[in-house]
């Protein structure tokens, strides 16, 4: 597969120098100040409120946060998969290979999706079309993006199914999704999304719907494929346990804001945002005494239908000060590759 004729045409080696002024040389995807809202009959939902981050070539970025914190909406906005209306990408840029993805039209975007950036979803039980054989669904991207003929596309589909470790791949090509188990379907989804060798795979909680042993298998599989194919991965999850063994860098999101960004080891050893702190405290660990109760974060996530004002975490924060209610802290660099948005230094409890 590695010497496949299309391998080289797919991965853009570096951004176009003429247009690349916005992007860091090694960055594959550079998102700046992304704001996404939904205008619903009940009012405007402020889902993503000015998010900036980058992903390097071959890098694995984990995005963590609780349900409804804007993890998925951020990624779907970049892919232009947000239903518009009611959705609206109010502001922001997402540079990929020198082009702003948010400015591409439908047709141009179709060429990016699947070929350059692919996405897999949470629930493999519903993400496959029940009336099409898996072979048809895997070869679809090959027909669309490479105009591949039926026979070579089928051969490639078998190859892909073998890669995601589905036994008897050639015979299973004509099977329908209901003939596969949950874990196998997620493998098929992965095969589908990797068919065109994208440079970036966005995995939106790909293991949440699976049981724990299968979760480990799928995570391992994605790690192995990342090594083989050299793509970058954005792994959306709310499971900090999975992140440790997988990611290079972690972004913590809360209420549509990035509250902390750090290298994975740095984040676990030296969390700087009270929210990250609380999340790690809430994580069960084998090396901690059992008698100690796991901490929970008091309160509930904020109502996103209210225009954000001040720090979104203030109502639940144990370090809260007057300033937190009035001003939302911006994401600031505090050490090498470690950014945090907080007025308080959690190590000392004093203002920064």
């Amino acid at each position: 597969m590695d010497n496949h004729p299309h391998t080289h045409s797919v991965a853009p080696s570096s951004p176009d120098p003429a247009l690349g002024t916005h992007t860091h040389p090694e960055t594959l995807l550079d998102v700046k100040d992304l704001v996404t809202r939904f205008h619903t009959p009940e009012g405007t939902v402020y889902a993503v409120n000015g998010v900036s981050f980058g992903v390097g070539h071959g890098e694995t970025l984990a995005v963590v946060g609780e349900s409804g914190c804007g993890k998925s909406v951020t990624m779907m906005s970049i892919m232009q998969l947000i239903p518009v209306p009611p959705g609206e990408i109010a502001r922001g840029e997402a540079f990929y290979a020198g082009r702003d993805l948010l400015k591409l039209n439908d047709i141009e975007m179709e060429h990016v999706r699947g070929k350059e950036i692919s996405m897999i979803f949470q629930d493999p039980m519903t993400s496959l079309n029940p009336v099409l054989s898996v072979g048809k669904q895997i070869t679809e991207a090959l027909h669309t993006h490479f105009n591949m003929d039926k026979e070579p596309a089928r051969e490639r589909a078998v190859e892909l199914l073998e890669r995601v470790r589905i036994p008897a791949a050639a015979e299973r090509l004509n099977d329908y999704p209901h003939q596969f188990s949950g874990g196998m379907r997620q493998r098929v989804m992965i095969a589908m999304s990797l068919a065109c060798q994208p440079s970036l795979l966005i995995a939106d909680e790909p293991t949440t719907a699976l049981d724990v042993t299968i979760q480990a298998q799928i995570t391992e599989l994605v790690v192995a494929l990342r090594e083989q194919m050299g793509m970058a991965v954005i792994w959306i999850t709310h499971d900090l346990g999975v992140v440790a063994g997988l990611a290079d860098r972690v972004i913590v999101m809360y209420a549509g804001f990035i509250v902390e960004e750090a290298n994975v080891d740095d984040l676990y050893e030296n969390p700087q945002h009270p929210y990250t702190h609380a999340l790690l405290e809430a994580l069960p660990r084998v090396d901690r005494r059992r008698s100690k109760r796991l901490k929970s974060i008091p309160g509930a996530p904020p109502n996103l239908q209210v225009e954000p004002h001040g720090c979104p975490f203030a109502p639940r924060c144990e370090y809260v000060m007057q300033r937190c209610w009035d001003e939302n802290p911006i994401l600031e660099q505090i050490s090498f590759q470690h950014r945090v948005a907080c007025w308080v230094n959690v190590d000392t409890g004093a203002p920064r």
């Binding site: 892919m79 998969l81 439908d106 179709e110 060429h111 990016v112 999706r113 699947g114 070929k115 692919s118 996405m119 897999i120 979803f121 629930d123 519903t126 993400s127 496959l128 079309n129 029940p130 009336v131 099409l132 669904q137 679809e140 991207a141 669309t144 993006h145 329908y176 209901h178 003939q179 989804m189 589908m192 999304s193 068919a195 065109c196």
Partner: protein, 322 residues
């Protein structure tokens, strides 16, 4: 599994007894499941067999009896009751009723099939675009659909038949020369019956477009056209097939209505419908005039309705009852 295979099949003794064959067969595909459910639907099987017989009657009968015989008038032989030489009797101008039901059957069945073809293609296209694109496209197409629904169909049929009738020259289909009115009737019936199907298809698309597999397909770069025709349409095939079968029945009936009113297919081309035209004057004196074409219409419509019923049950992926 081995023990079951070794033992000869025993009658059920309270324990579910699976034959070795059932244990070893791979899981069935959707199509096999549908066929299995359909086979167990007695009425549907009756309908299917009946329709095959009716087709054999109309198209096979033509091999035995020539069309010129069906149109041959002989007033000396008018209104003869059924006899050995004319099993279904003769009509008001001495034509053989049996021969006319055969050639009329061809037209009636053809009208049913082609009208449904038009109905399904327009209904599916309009419903699919409205449901998939929503917004302005939806509003525009659905208001048009509602406008069409609000005109009584029989009135529309009569007006259009009167207006367009006899404006087409004779056409040649399947080696038969037919009055151009056949084509007109097919068009009229097709174009006045697609609205309900369009609404059904729209509803299907509205629900399927929100499904995760559509999102997943979009995430790998599938175009709207592919999503509409390759991903969503096959999922909504069950209600479409059912509506289509029932549509054949109502198209045959619609043809019978307008032909009965003398606005349909023009003689000498026979249809089951226009054979009834005029038969109302002989309800008691010559019942064979209306009995045979009427019976054939009844059988066709009934069988097609049974068939549609069976298809609905068989194709519904949610019905797991075998």
């Amino acid at each position: 599994m081995e023990t079951t295979a070794a033992e000869p099949p025993k009658p059920a003794t309270g324990v579910v007894h699976l034959t070795p064959d059932e244990l070893e067969t791979p899981p069935l595909t959707l199509r096999q499941l549908a066929w299995r459910r359909f086979k167990r639907h007695k009425m549907a099987m009756f309908g299917a067999v009946m329709i095959v017989i009716l087709f054999l009657y109309a198209f096979g009968g033509a091999l035995v009896i020539s069309e010129s015989y069906a149109n041959q008038t002989d007033t000396k032989l008018r209104l003869q009751p059924p006899s050995a030489s004319h099993p279904f009797g003769t009509d008001t101008v001495g034509r053989d009723v049996l021969a006319r039901t055969i050639y009329g059957g061809q037209i009636s069945l053809m009208i049913g099939l082609f009208a449904v073809l038009i109905e399904v293609s327009s209904g599916v296209l309009i419903g699919a675009f409205a449901g998939y694109y929503r917004g302005k496209v939806d509003a525009l197409l659905m208001r048009f659909t509602e406008a069409m629904i609000n005109i009584p169909e029989i009135f529309l049929l009569i007006v259009m038949a009167k207006f367009f009738g006899n404006k087409l020259p004779d056409v040649n289909i399947l080696g038969r020369t037919l009055s151009g009115s056949v084509v007109i009737i097919i068009l009229i019936i097709g174009l006045t019956s697609w609205m309900y199907l369009a609404r059904i298809v729209r509803a299907e698309f509205l629900s399927y477009r929100e499904r995760e597999f559509v999102l997943a397909a979009r995430a790998i770069g599938t175009s709207n056209r592919e999503i509409i025709f390759r991903h969503i349409l096959p999922n909504s095939i069950a209600p479409i097939v059912v509506a289509a079968t029932l549509g054949v029945a109502s198209a045959i009936l619609a043809e019978a209505y307008i032909s009965f009113l003398g606005l349909g297919v023009q003689p000498p081309t026979a249809t089951w419908g226009n054979m009834l035209d005029g038969a109302n004057n002989y309800l008691e004196s010559a019942p064979w005039l209306w009995f045979f074409p009427g019976l054939l219409i009844l059988l066709t419509v009934l069988s097609i309705n049974f068939l549609g019923d069976g298809l609905r049950d068989a194709l519904d992926p949610r019905s797991r009852a075998a």
